[in-house]
Amino acid sequence: MTASQADLVLRAGARPGGGRHDRRFKYALVAPSIFVLLLIGVFPLVYLLVVSFQNITMTDMDKTFQGLLNYRLLVQDTRMWEALLHTVIFTAVALPIELLLGLAMAQLFIDRLPGRQVFIALLVLPVVVSPIVAGATWSLMFNTRFGPINQIIGWFAGEEVNILWTINPSLVYPAILAAEIWQWTPFMFLLLLAALSGVDKSQLEAAAIDGAGYWRSFFKLVLPAIWPVMAVAILIRGLDLFRLFDIVWALTKGGPGTMTETISIFAYVKGFQQFETSYTAAVALMIIVLLTVVVLLALKRVQLAR
């Protein structure tokens, strides 16, 4: 049997005018998934749209059409803008640090090293810890009196220190970022290590013979080679950071006040603690639209798969 015949057999259903049986087969396969995805992908959109034009709160089931009331409130809500800003700050600080630390660690582990596989296996562990558990862990670490961090600082300071990591306004960000960076740097490390091991060594050696320095060959040869993977890693982490909830929830619940409130925490508080249903619907819809646009634009530039 020739290749083209085989192709005809298998792909018949993919062609317009292909066998009716095959067409039914390929749609039958996707149907259950599409159904479930529509349930969480499209139903919420429609529902949010409807509710966001009403004015439902815990005490008031006002289902009359309110026009853009909630969206007007949303735009004027400084707390929402601040939450968005906090989210951007977390992302803008954590992402580059995770990337650079992960890259440096990958460089360290790229060459032969005794026990290399064991090191890598151990370094991955933070990534698979539940983020809420990671947050709980760091709240134990940062405890003012019984945590090891103040104790260690005390050794260097030569006296007892009582630093209020999760309460002091100038220290909550470093504290949350430390937990976040601890958990996800190994993620960057793992992906970049895989990317680096795909770089052609002979090219690097040739460049070295030609007298190219370390940084020059890094920017000219290594970076372009690992960029596709790096872009995927940045995309995944960037989107994860935008939804940041668990670690902050465990460490500060968005406090002190609303100082560390991310957009996810803001929406949670509005929807599930203050029961401002219609307003939260507007917030959620804004988040979905914002993210979907970003993701679709990013997917055009980043190659997630062949």
Partner: protein, 276 residues
């Protein structure tokens, strides 16, 4: 001779750096685990003790006695069932997309973009729907949401794994007179079992570790371990032993599972972008 000496020194420095970094990253995990084996007096001794005088299992005994430990079982039921469901319907969908390009790039991109929407935006309308349907704090409600939430990941990953299988095998099966369904069961699934296994583990871990959906959609009946951990927050500080013991119960199984699948980690984490 001199060069060999320098190389050895360089290796020793790298080894020292690698050890230091690894210890640094493991320390918080050590601290979490270690607290669960301390007595309350040891937890609240000052300055903090870095290891317990002897291994105490009383923190765990309390969790089992009070029934708090059943939340791990709830996590297992929810994560396990949703993983099986998502793997089954997701792999079928992946096959159709991989081999027939069903829906083209638009469908594939839409599916993966579903994964990237923040959970808070999805769970809010789902919660309102569940209140109406009476699905809050029930296993079916939570399982359905986790299935849906993990489906894009399964489809995306399995699409990649199926594309790795030589198409000639399926062609041969069809020529041999298999129906398309038989071909799926007897050729495609067995051939992609490594991918199925790896994807299932990742899916399971995502559901197992998830917090926000569980926080919103559970009350008392199907509380998962992640939510249970937060129940001890902010109360009396003697809940520390419970926080750490509960966390260990939820984390240790994951460590064991991940230990067995190092080979698949890179591909799983990178959404298939790196073949690893």
């Amino acid at each position: 001779m001199k060069a060999a000496h320098r190389n050895r020194l360089k290796l020793a420095v790298r080894l020292a750096a690698a050890t230091l970094i690894t210890l640094l990253f493991l320390f918080p995990i050590y601290w979490l685990f270690m607290i669960s084996f301390k007595t309350p007096d040891e937890i609240f001794s000052y300055p903090p003790k870095w290891w317990p005088a002897q291994l105490q299992f009383s923190s765990y005994a309390v969790l089992f006695r009070d029934g708090d430990a059943t939340t791990v079982l709830n996590s297992l039921i929810v994560a396990g069932t949703s993983t099986v469901l998502a793997m089954f319907i997701g792999t079928l969908c992946a096959y159709s997309i991989a081999r027939f390009r069903t829906g083209g790039d638009n469908l594939a991109n839409w599916i993966i973009s579903q994964r990237m929407v923040p959970p808070i935006a999805v769970v809010f309308p789902i919660f309102l729907l569940y209140v109406w349907l009476g699905l809050v704090d029930t296993f079916p409600g939570l399982i359905l949401l986790y299935t849906a939430f993990n489906l894009p990941y399964v489809i995306w990953m399995m699409r990649g794994y199926i594309l790795d299988i030589p198409i000639a095998l399926e062609e041969a099966a069809l020529v041999d007179g298999y129906t398309r369904w038989q071909m799926l069961w007897k050729v495609v699934f067995p051939m992609s079992r490594a991918g199925l296994f790896a994807t299932a583990i990742f899916t399971f871990v995502f559901a197992w570790n998830e917090f926000l959906f569980a926080l919103v959609l559970t009350r008392t009946e199907v509380t998962t371990y992640t939510v249970q951990v937060t129940h001890y927050f902010g109360g009396q500080s003697n809940f520390w032993s419970k926080i750490s013991a509960m966390s260990v119960l939820g984390t240790l199984p994951i460590f064991i599972i991940v230990g067995f699948m190092q080979r698949y980690l890179v591909r799983g984490f990178s959404l298939g972008a790196v073949k690893g």
